[in-house]
């Protein structure tokens, strides 16, 4: 009986170890194809074939994972591989936001005290940035309550707060991905009751490569520095 247990244990442990490493290698092996002349810009294809414009054979390039890793720096948030749902119900990874200046904040929609003020801070920043006609700035609100804040709930919240435009994105993660993301932002939070969280109020600005350039701490503080940082970053 004991031996059976040992065998089962061995198999399970071997399986669990190999499965974890398999995931890694699969990612590395994923090959994508691209036109050698880049007729369609940076467009890539999952299967080999020929370019629809110049008819040349598509050339295999390194997986997205690898190409992006070489382009982004060590301290970029695009190194996070977790998946997020937007308020439109689309699943994305953070690196898909590459190329835009990101203004990020962590909130939850059932919040009564600080979040409305944080949200109004974000709107005030957005207003000031909007005047400058910057279309490559994205305002991202990440929910710290992934269980309550479903994409549907986030969409409703966006509409209620007049934040449903292109420049706004709301993200729902998982309990662990939110914890990891908060750690990257150095945001602290704690669940007080199922609908109430205590949390730090930090608005973070990231450049186009996902590197942190500025953090504004506190509620209702002067936004001037944050706004000028955003403008400066988006012009780079």
């Amino acid at each position: 009986m004991k031996i059976v247990k040992i065998i089962v244990f061995l198999f399970v442990s071997i399986l669990s170890v190999t499965s974890c490493s398999n995931n890694e290698s699969n990612k590395d092996e994923a090959v994508i194809y691209q036109c050698p002349m880049k007729c369609e810009g940076e467009k890539t294809f999952d299967i080999s074939g020929s370019c629809s414009v110049c008819k040349m054979d598509l050339k295999p390039v390194k997986s997205t994972e690898n190409t992006l890793n070489t382009e982004i720096s060590d301290s970029s948030i695009f190194n996070l591989t977790t998946k997020w749902n937007t308020e439109e119900g689309v699943t994305i990874q953070l690196k898909e936001l590459k190329g835009k200046t990101l203004v990020m904040v962590m909130i939850y929609t059932t919040c009564k005290v600080a979040c409305p003020r944080l949200v109004s801070d974000m709107r005030s920043i957005e207003k000031q940035v909007f005047k400058r006609n910057l279309d490559d700035v994205l305002f991202v609100l990440v929910s710290i309550d992934p269980e309550t804040d479903t994409p549907k709930r986030l969409k409703e919240f966006a509409i209620e707060n007049y934040m449903d435009g292109e420049q706004w994105t709301f993200l729902q993660g998982t309990v662990s991905s939110v914890r990891e993301f908060a750690n990257v932002l150095a945001v602290k939070y704690k669940e007080i009751s199922p609908i109430d969280f205590s949390h730090s109020n930090i608005i973070s600005v990231f450049d186009k490569n996902g590197e942190l350039v500025h953090q504004q701490e506190g509620l209702g503080v002067d936004n001037k520095e944050t706004v000028s940082k955003i403008i400066e970053t988006s012009r780079k």
Partner: protein, 252 residues
Amino acid sequence: MNIILKLLICVILFGGTGANGQSEMASIKGGVYIPLYGRDSLQVSIADFEMDVYPVTNQYYLEFVKNYPKWRRSKVISLFADKSYLIKWASDATLGEEQALNAPVTNVSWFAANAYCECQGKRLPTVDEWEYVAMANETQADARQIKTYNEYILSWYEKPKTFNNTIGSTFKNYWKVYDLHGLVWEWTSDFNSVLISGESRKDVDNDSNLFCGSAAVGATDLMNYAAFMRYAVRGSLKAKYTMRNLGFRCVK
């Protein structure tokens, strides 16, 4: 009989090299207790779980970085660990001269600890879970009122360089778990839920419950100075920080 022998050898080999990466675990029966910082309802309930008997050792961590090059000292990215990550190791896969294989691994960041546990099919304990198991002494599940228990912990805080000691060198507690006190501090999954850091004075909404000055008053057990120290350390950490006396263990 032959098969049994082969199997035994196999088990010994696996156990000996730690190739399967699984360490011994103890079952913790859930319960209800009042932590240093109560929530609204004060009591926290803990579900049943399993906890590593010992902190993760250099040996196990060595296996991990061999299997996951991403976490080698030369490969780790600055988003996930600061410059002192595994700083005392001689190289990517060799320990420093003074380091023992079965001493707890330290100078690891939260991201690294989190990834290690995930790859074992485990996770880091929550602050509440960790404190729940750590409030036991040798014989009682909750020894926080006992003088010798508190004295032991505080005397450890005064002892230098206990991180060089090997695992199992402190006492086995009520839950058959070793080294929660007396060896190294340990990462918890939600260490960032403690709002007593510097910035929390100005930017946390619920400050009447949880912020620095009032935290001392809000603490449910003023005698528990040792626990207060732990919460203070957690509050001061960032996830990419690594410290000489900060290790971790996993739970399931």
